[in-house]
Assembly symmetry: C2
Homo-oligomer: 132 residues x 2
Amino acid sequence: MKYIEKLRNSGLRPTKQRLQICEVLFNTERTFHFTINELEQKIKDKIDNKISLATIYNTVHAFEKKGYLKQIPVNSNQTYFDTNITDHHHFYNLKDGKLIDLENSDVGPINIKRKIDGKKIKSIEVLVKLED
Amino acid sequence: MKYIEKLRNSGLRPTKQRLQICEVLFNTERTFHFTINELEQKIKDKIDNKISLATIYNTVHAFEKKGYLKQIPVNSNQTYFDTNITDHHHFYNLKDGKLIDLENSDVGPINIKRKIDGKKIKSIEVLVKLED
DNA sequence: TGACTAGTTTATAATGGTTCTAAATAGCTG
DNA sequence: CAGCTATTTAGAACCATTATAAACTAGTCA
């Protein structure tokens, strides 16, 4: 299995559950956005055995901490994640709560001119809200 | 009271509670960011009578709908609001969860080149996460 | 291979921000 | 003032997320 190495190299034990979640998250044609609930559903559809909700939360947070997932800042009661970890931005369709990737070429470079003493920039994220 | 007109013009009855919340939110030297909990505390400090939490939620949402407040997209378990309703962006200090305004001149113009059929852009928001 | 140990998984309970409910209250219009 | 509707309120309900603590498992070392 191709994810065993990846996990071990990150200091995460390659458990059956984590490997299965890797399949769902990363063994895809395209990257995608998801909430925990949507991921839970996807796992149910693709995996025979059950993975508990707590494990899904644990795993998603572990993967995020290792940089395999990104959280997307959106105002919603649910947390959105992205399997596309490259620097990029999002449209957020207010009507259905769906996100759409924006390529960097669609936005242009963003240059933050102001500095805050003792702090460094971890990320720059642009959210473009869409309405009808 | 200077907020009576403002409220009436928006179709909101100028109740005692709403006027008091207006004082806390808008009768200030500077604009500021807040969560509902922080606002609740501020109200307790400045107002003699009690305003119920439900009313605070109702009022904040009513004001947001009327455009007197903006929600700021941040990944947090709490919702952040801003009394500065002009177009501007934010630093988000991950350490303490505090927001800092970025002037538009600190960021430069953001030009979204991609269009989505049938949708128009409601807002463009940049969040710059800060770490140590 | 057989423990030993630390890391994981799991069901379930707990937490906490937010929303709902339904009854009491207060603006507004005539 | 009367009557109507909007608003306020305490408390319950909701629901995403986190904590708990017991069972399990991967990795290690003899």
